[in-house]
Structure formats: C-alpha cells, structure tokens
Amino acid sequence: MKEPDLPMTDAEVTECLARARQGDEKAVLEIFHYMYPHVTKLVQANLPARESAEDLIQQVCVKVTTHLHQFSGKVPLLHWVSRIAVNTCLNQIRHEKRRPEVRLADLSEDEAAVVENLATSSAELSASDQVASRELVNKLLDTLKPKDRLLLRLMYLEGRNLEEIAQLTGWSKALIKVRAFRARAQLRTRYSLLMKEKS
C-alpha cells in the first residue's frame, strides 16, 4: 500500500479508483488517506464549533467512500470531495446564530504583535508571524456570517478563483462577487474596530 504521507498523482488516483470499484479494500484505504487531510482542513476551516469538527470529518469521509461508485471522474477527485465537504459544512452551520466579537484583550501576545506590526510597518509579515496571523484571521472570520466566512476562506486562505468557488458552493458568480464585496467590507469594519481599540 502507498505511504499515506506521500501525495498521489492524478494517474495513481485514477488507478486507485479503478481498483476500488473492483472491490479492492486497500485501494479504498489509499483514497481515504489521500483525502483525509484535505477534508480535515476544509471542515476545520469552515466549522465555527471546533469541538464538533471531528464528527463532521468522519461524516464526510463515510459519505465520500459510500458514494465512491457515483464519482464520474469528470472532475478531479479532490474537487468532488471538497464539494461534499463544503455542502456538509453549509448544512451544519445553516442555523448558527452566535458570532463572537474580537477584542484586543482576547488576542494572544503573538496575535497582538501581528496587529502592531501591521499598523506600524508596511512590510510583509515575517515567517514567524504566520501561525499567529492564521489565528488572528480565524478570530476575525468567526465574527462573520457562516457563508461569508466560508467565501473569504476559500478566496483568501485557499486562493480559490471565482470558477472554483462557484463549483464548490453551487453559487452563481454574480452572487459570489456581491457576497465577497460585502463580507470583505464587514471584515474591514471588524478589523478597524480592533485598530481603534489599539490606538
């Protein structure tokens, strides 16, 4: 069996899928290990209640493997998996109401240092600030509506383009543009409040 840590090429994925369709359990496990980190990242990024992320990750993995025979192969496997993961997350967060506020006092030392750096310098943040930046972004995004949060994550953290986001979410491109504009404006407002508090 292929080592789980090594990434699979497209040809290997296709070959694995063919073996899985013929009933090869090892191939199913290879596909599972291939998609697991991707599913985990997507679910953890899009689910506000982190404690239930594990259940949802398992739910997505089971859903994907039980529907593997329905995968047509017209798109890459990970796109198909992403779509299932995103839809599962959207269903989960549909009724979410609570959105926490971010205050300067809630930030860790490293996150506060990132805010300080951003305000005082126009240079790019250093590599040592990356983890704190990710945490700060997560806190800021958690203040937005679930769909806005999902969209900004896909755009700015995963670097997806309009086409890919439309495929993943099933939203029209016009809707994505409008939603992204509004979400970005809201995020700017939250960030400016943080800055005001700092100064």
């Binding site: 199913v28 599972f32 980190p37 985990t40 089971v62 529907h67 990356q130 700017r188």
Partner: protein, 100 residues
C-alpha cells in the same frame, strides 16, 4: 489602496502560508470507513439511490399528465352535438328576471 485593505491583504498572505499541523485520522475511522464502503458496495445500484428512480418518477409524471389532459378537457369544456343545443337554448330562452 485603503491602508486597512493593505493591512488585511498582508495579514491574509501571511495566514495563507502558515504551516498546517500534522493531520492523522483518529483510531477506528479507517475501520468505520471500510465498513461503510463494504455495506454500500454490497448493494450497488440499489433501486432507491439510483438516478433510475428519478427518471422513472419523471416518466410516470409525464404519463399521468398525458392521461389527465384529455379527461380534464372533456369535463371542463362542453363538446359534441349536445353542447351546441345547450348553448342555443341558453341564448334564446329569456330568464324569469327579463320577462315583462
């Protein structure tokens, strides 16, 4: 560009390059996934989860509509030789309100 936008862009760029922690599946998930896959592949192409069912339902709907339409026409619109007689009688007989 708005300074806040510039700061946010730099923040996003740094966050995007943050290293991801090691991700390993929890104990037991492999077994659960395999069991679910075995169960699903033991009933491949079951009637209820195939696209065949949807197509069948659509076809049944079309056939039902095709059967209903003539029946609806015959009940809502009077037709045939008697319809003309009824219409003629309606138009020629004065109602009791109109009589002097």
């Amino acid at each position: 560009m708005n300074p806040l936008d510039d700061q946010l862009n730099r923040l996003f760029r740094a966050a995007r390059h943050a290293p991801s922690p090691e991700i390993a599946p929890p104990f037991g998930l492999e077994t659960r996934v395999l069991a679910a896959w075995r169960e699903a592949s033991a009933r491949p192409g079951t009637f209820w989860d195939g696209a065949l069912l949807i197509r069948g339902l659509i076809l049944a709907g079309v056939i039902t509509m095709a059967c209903w339409l003539p029946a609806l026409n015959s009940t809502t619109k009077e037709s045939g030789p008697f319809a003309d007689v009824v219409q003629l009688t309606d138009s020629t007989l004065p109602s009791s309100d109109e009589s002097p």
